[in-house]
């Protein structure tokens, strides 16, 4: 007699989106074969910023942890990579993993400290920690101290896969390195989005949403809100560290002021997430594209560019606080990454929620 129920998450739009995404990712993988190197570099920039934005969004949009200190993880990740390559002679590609791990290690004491703080205090606390990290790394003489340093050219030349890619596409080593970095960025971005989407579809993702809606009630139904915070913070730090390592692998030059820049690695990232739409996976994707277009259109106008960027940020926050994707999904109800679980079956047969 017991009715049979099941849960459905997919929608027609999401199935379509999934197919499109799959095709898009395959196309992006194949891109180096038929697009210019300039485009590959632009795509690299877009993909790494997208990764950073997704992780910040996970932190702030899903975890409610508004951090202004993500540059700590970018910078530390990047420096870990340089340390491993320069001092340890490790292959740069392998060192990217070390970048993530270094960021993760920094994240543990940071979280211990920052979780004692709330709201604005948390934001400023993370910022100060990032400053401390910057100033400390600036004392690390063997990777150049405050001067910064470059990746040794030998290490770049001997990087794994580069030769193979060079042969494959018949290009110079520098272009082959770009392609390798681009592929790594693509893998990282796809894994990030897939991973976050997966997380949101698990019971932990649901708990995250519950904590965001009502922390007291969430605790009362057995959700470990504290552990959710740790999970989100550490995951973001790890991913941000990986992205940081990759970004500076591609740049091949580092300095503390650049690698720990609050403007480049946190403010712009916040801008991307907010413009696109915080608390959605689609938002940062849209945001990074808008950001990239703005930068390309206006970057040659120097201070005017930055003024326009600042004004757009203000206007969006004031008049469309849920971002561009918020506007779109409000109008159309569109969701490319649905997480809503709909109960079907039993007496609900055929009914849609």
């Amino acid at each position: 007699m017991a009715a049979v129920y099941s849960v459905r998450t997919r929608t027609a739009a999401s199935t379509f989106a999934f197919v499109v995404a799959l095709v898009l990712v395959l196309a992006l993988f194949a891109a180096p074969a038929f697009v210019s190197r300039g485009l590959i570099q632009d795509l690299f920039f877009i993909l790494t910023m997208l990764t950073l934005a997704q992780f910040w969004n996970l932190l702030a949009g899903y975890g409610g942890l508004v951090s202004v200190g993500q540059q700590a993880f970018v910078g530390l990740g990047a420096y870990a990579l340089y340390g491993a390559v320069i001092l340890g002679g490790v292959d740069p590609v392998v060192s990217i993993l070390l970048a993530g791990i270094a960021a993760l290690i920094l994240a543990v004491p940071t979280a211990f400290f920052a979780f004692r703080l709330q709201g604005a205090y948390f934001a400023i606390g993370t910022w100060v920690i990032a400053e401390v990290a910057r100033l400390s790394v600036a004392q690390w003489r063997s990777v150049g101290g405050g001067t910064g340093t470059s990746l040794p050219r030998d290490a770049l030349k001997e990087m794994i896969l580069v030769e193979w890619i060079g042969d494959l596409f018949d290009t110079r080593a520098s272009a082959a390195r770009d392609i390798l970095a681009y592929w790594l960025a693509l893998v990282l971005a796809v894994l990030t989005i897939a991973g976050i989407y997966w997380l949101l579809r698990t019971k932990r993702g649901l708990a995250l949403a519950a904590v965001r809606d009502n922390t007291e009630a969430a605790k009362s139904v057995g959700v470990d809100a504290g552990r959710m915070k740790w999970l989100v913070f550490l995951t973001s730090a790890f991913g941000t560290g990986l992205a940081g390592g990759l970004i500076y692998l591609q740049k091949a030059r580092i300095s503390p002021d650049a690698a720990f820049s609050v403007v480049d690695w946190t403010a712009y990232v916040i801008f991307i997430v907010v413009i696109g739409g915080i608390g959605t996976i689609e938002g940062p994707i849209l945001g990074v594209i808008v950001f990239f277009i703005l930068q390309n259109m206006l970057a040659d106008y120097g201070s005017w560019y930055l003024m326009v960027l600042g004004l757009i940020g203000i206007v969006v926050m004031l008049f469309a606080p849920r971002g561009l994707w918020g506007l779109i999904s409000e109008k159309t109800g569109l969701q490319l990454f649905p997480v809503r679980r709909r109960l079907v079956g039993g007496s609900l047969k055929g009914r849609e929620g």
């Binding site: 019971k203 519950a210 009362s220 139904v221 057995g222 470990d224 809503r340 679980r341 609900l348 929620g353």
Partner: protein, 239 residues
Amino acid sequence: MSILSLHNVSKAFGSLTVTDDVTFDVPDGQALGIIGPNGAGKSTLFNLITGNLLPDAGTIRFDGRDVTREPAMRRCLSGVGRSFQIPQPFEKLTVFENLVVAATHGRGLSETEVTGICAGVLERTGLLRKANEPAGRLSLLERKRLELSRAMATGPKLLLLDEIAGGLTDGECKSLIETIQGIREEGVTIIWIEHVLHALISVVERLLVLDFGKVIAIGEPSQIMESREVREIYLGIDV
């Protein structure tokens, strides 16, 4: 054997003592009703039992363990389920998802294992029609029913209900009583705060009266209702 026992528990907000040296036991499987005027400290008592608030003094034991300092989430896992007097749904989640959170985390089960449980609870509480509706769009009565459903979904040994019968029609009230009776028969211990006395009395075996944070009477419902003191303090209306 008592599943819950409070011993000299006190709680104050600043200068206001809201729970004043409260001591009582609840035997396993019993249903206890709590009554008392507004502001007597009933909901606060619940918050102390669930761990949403920590007491200033005294000890709370649940299921044979001292849980006085345990966080709410741990207590939920060991079997304390509750409803909030002012409904606290996860507004952006659907009704069904509200229950899924409770069932997966409250019982430590996986998502696939709880679909049936959640649907079953919704069937019992009559919220099934609304299963896929965001909880933020529910009316007050539906929210109260969601509170009950979500508490049930955590699979509690002890269920704390805070004013869930207010504003129901006769028929609705009857079916609510049946639902709660049903839960009791499954062996769940129940503590129920309610102003709708006839509903309360038709379920509970014992009644506890709270006034100014103090337990002023505890015992058989009929006896309690007879006592002049209670009538005066609680009902307010001279009968």
